[in-house]
Amino acid sequence: MKKHRLLTALAVVALIGLLGVFNLTFDSYKLRILNLCGIYIILGLSMNLINGFTGLFSLGHAGFMAVGAYVSALLTMSPELKDTVFYAVPIHPFVKAMSAPFPIALLLGGIAAGIVGGVIAAPILRLKDDYLAIATLGFSEIIRVVATNLQSITNGPLGLKGIDRVVNTGWSWGLAILTVYFIKKLMDGSYGKAILAIREDEIAAEAMGVNLFRHKMYSFIIGAFFAGIGGGLLAHMLGTIDPLMFRFILTFNILLIVVLGGIGSITGTVISACVVTSMMEVLRFLEGKMDFGFFQIQGIPGMRMVVFSALLMIVILWYPRGLMGTKEFNWDYILQRKYLNIFNKKKKKKTVSEEN
């Protein structure tokens, strides 16, 4: 165990070192993709906590992100900037006056999203499966419609502009690493075991003394909190937000990351968040002009989406439970492979267990 902890610490240091190197050598295009990866890791993990670990099929993520994004953005914008941006309908004086530095604004955005998550979860946790999915989807749309119509607070469809673009690799990946650590600790503890029990069999879990409602509530609130943080980071990376950003399609993108990585796997979510985010940009060359020497093809817009979808289908055909299933990254597993036999002379049985 001690060896594992050392290895993990080394790996984290190596990752931070690698990110530092990227930060110095990458141009702003690649850095932007890198930062997006970090943000999507946070969003994917927060959804995985609700959907994967607790087994509540929730589609309310875009709504929680919207709350986090709006609260944190309105807090960091200066009053003068708010006045110029709110040119159609004057801003509410209280909203105009409120302000906070970025870290606190981000935290408050997350807390606001967590509160909204809790308020939504309280009534709809009586529902299950598909019905829960529809109810959460409905709530997420309600949040968006409210943001569209509350013009004196959110500037309605005109959106917010000129938000400080402070998010750098440190913020996005720093918080991503923290989120991974937090979720991992959560899942290792008794709370994690309890929500896994709920996912597997609610009645059995209840019989064992697990308070279903409270555990599900916590899962929703924590998930919504991290979604709010992710939304706030996204707002402070783009510098602009509007209600149209937070449509169902955004929830779907995150769901794609969770399903591709494996519903209920932290490792899977991290991998697929990076792969999905960078693949869309990597495949961009498909839409440009291509020269094969003897013949040329003009770029076809939308080509990368076709190829991306095909790749997704291939992955899901071979790995119906996502890239990692419910498995996690495991040092034993790495150390005991034949090709890494320098560490262990004796080849043991596979030690990757289902829930580790």
Partner: protein
Amino acid sequence: MKKHVALLLVFMLGLATLLTGCGGTTEQASEESDVIKIGIFEPMTGANAAGGEMEVEGIKLANELYPEVLGKKVELVIADNKSDKVEAANAATMLVDKEKVSAVIGSWGSSFSIAAGPIFKDAGIPAVGASCTNPLVTMGNEYYSRVCFIDSFQGTVMANYAYNELGAKRVAIIQEISSDYSVGLVKYFEEAFVGFTGSEDSIIGKASYNTGDQDFTAQLTNIKELNPDAIFAPGNYTEGALLVKQARELGIDVPFIATDTWEAPEFLEIGGESVEGAVFSTFFTTEVPITDESEKFLKAYREKYDKEPASVTALGYDAYLVILNAIEQSGSTDPAEINKFISQTKDFEGAAGMISLDPNGDAIKSAVIKEVKDGEFKYLTVVEPIQ
């Protein structure tokens, strides 16, 4: 075994990311190269793809007619922003960092331009919008200009038309609340109309609907009771056509006025006879060529596509010409120099009218007013800019 394949797959994907990321940058030699790159930053897929496509048609046509500047070939680099803000920012950064373009044209849909604005500003790359009319696009950004008039002008033009031509004293407004375009226009229309009549009560009612709504009877019944002289309803053409149709069915026979988005064949198809007499402002007309360049554009476009161009196609064409003109005048490919000359554009002859840019980078130009008559869009008049 599966595990191996999974790891291998992930590893390869990661490697591919890194390799492709690094590959593109080797062949950049901006100064000596004999190609000038202009980025096209448009939605080619997603909800706004139709609009993006129309603009790209115009840009490509302009590129065919004027393929060279300073003896160098102009290469167009298309970056799809997927009608999505996050993707828009990615696409903009790609144009700036990977393709190293000298200037950018776009985008249809102001919110994507707003997302990309700070990126172009930081990189010092001039961007010229074709049809993004939201005032926030160029606000506080000296590197963003546009060849279309902005919402404030269009709102004023229609308020002027309602007051002076229609003789309206009491106007009702129906806005598309989920569209930044519609909400922005309503604000300026209101301001201007209240200014003309001198009475705050001249806007007697305001109703809202959402993009995609099909039934407007609730809003219309309320408005009918108010008995307005005219109804201002800027928004999408589908909703607009349905709105007018349902208003006529409810017995509302006052004139409907709107803005350039209504100019789409679908508006006539859906609206049928009910939309007769609807009046809206737009950028451009094919019936009366405004300038010599318009004639050249119309001829080339009809030859190539065998149909009538949309307004935004002409604007895309103009955006390209404005950039080309600036490159020629500055005699350099340095983006900062180009930007300086773009912002100095004055009385430039474009396909959609004369273009002069004000200090914000917004075009001061005339608007065209059209009417639906006998199932067609008919040119009514030209409104000169207010200096």
